[in-house]
Symmetry: C2
Subunit: 253 residues, 2 copies
């Protein structure tokens, strides 16, 4: 396992939990490597060059910007190597081995939060049928949701996830900040957050939009913008979203 951050840690734990042996963990931070190695009973590689050349699979779960450098330092015997990036082409691994692919878990991972990996969609790409079969088989050992996804579709998934997850979480941050500044506990908004997500498990989000913008309730929107007077970035976001919601409504008739 090359990397010891959020993705590497959750993935290594899931693999170890399915009885796969993690031989080595390498991380640019030795401390992170030690923490993960300890959890999955692996050895630590202090340098990429310390990794053995004969493992079945090398998983590169590093930030995109760090991958090329580390991959350039690996000495493999043409073994299978994959990365977990939503954005990079598989070919960035070609320097290390001619057997390369992608093993992209489509989920948001935080160290502190445990997660049932069986429900994490795994997006697989491989250059050969043989490697595809191997990766799909491994993926099926830890998840019930395995998909063959090419580079173009993977990029679309990634950016859609940035909106649905990362930007949504920022909306939660904004809400939490507003509540905190007014002495209201965050707990009171949790049922609303939960229901907003639960709704779209069974309905298209465009069919269940609610709020002042979709009702074109201009008085409420004006009042809200006045309340956001002291936070110009939030006011700008408010206007942009409201306009998008109104045009989306018109688009759907």
């Amino acid at each position: 396992m090359i990397g010891a951050g959020n993705v590497a840690t959750h993935l290594a734990k899931a693999l170890a939990g399915a009885g796969k042996r993690i031989e080595y963990v390498y991380s640019r931070s030795e401390r992170s490597a030690a923490a993960l190695a300890n959890r999955v009973m692996a050895k630590i590689a202090v340098q990429p060059e310390d990794l053995p050349a004969n493992s079945d699979l090398y998983i590169v779960a590093l930030p995109d910007a760090a991958i090329a450098d580390v991959v350039g330092r690996l000495q493999l015997d043409n073994n299978l190597i994959v990365h977990t990036s939503g954005t990079l082409p598989a070919g960035i691994l070609a320097e290390a081995s001619s057997n390369f692919g992608v093993f992209y878990p489509y989920q948001t991972f935080s160290m502190a939060r445990a997660l049932d990996f069986r429900h994490v969609p795994l997006c697989i790409e491989a250059g050969s049928n043989d490697n595809e079969t191997r990766l799909c088989s491994l993926a099926a050992d830890i998840s019930s949701s395995v998909h063959l996804i090419d580079a173009e579709k993977r990029a679309v998934l990634h950016i859609a996830g940035v909106f649905a997850c990362n930007f949504t979480n920022m909306n939660y941050v904004i809400a939490e900040e507003m509540l905190r500044e007014n002495g209201i506990p965050f707990d009171i908004i949790k049922p609303l957050i939960r229901e907003t997500a639960s709704k779209v498990m069974g309905f298209s989000p465009s069919a269940v939009q609610t709020g002042p913008a979709v009702r074109e309730d201009l008085n409420v929107m004006k009042r809200h913008l006045e309340l956001l007077n002291s936070k110009p970035e939030y006011a700008e976001l408010y206007e942009m979203f409201s306009n998008l919601i109104i045009s989306e409504k018109k688009k759907n008739g």
Copy 2:
């Protein structure tokens, strides 16, 4: 029950389910009034003037802009009247009765989606202790989450909800559109949407932010902006959110 939209319908069903009798339903749309009246075994008032003057409680669950007109046409015997608006002051009801208050359910309601009302926070405001007691008691009959919330805090809750719910749902709409345009089923993103919401049930959202912006992964962000080239509003939203996430991270050290 004055109104027969999303809020009125869910609230009337919850009240009827708790053994309260809904005597009459009035809606500006007679068809909506008939649909709701039918569900809760109530009579229909075709005009606000047709409502009886001796009900225990009048609940005005109308769009904000429609409230003043309808309230001006009610003929009450100083009975208790409440509205369900997050934005309007309770005093807008003073024309109808000197016993007025607010009964604000803090949730997103859609007609087609059933909901367990016991987990819906109910925000109560009343001008007198007596009315406060009556409204809290009624609220406790249908929900386990009853809160005394004044007008100022209610407005904050409302706008925080617009970000956490309405704008979040628009993020889901954007994600769904991108996936659909690339032939990817919406189902694949559902575990991510669910986990993003579930995470903040136990963690502060600012502690679990993930994605390229919080990692300041400029290459990924640049690539995403290129992919959004044909959708300038989404690109603008992308930049704005990414900047907010980066400054939030710096704020928290």
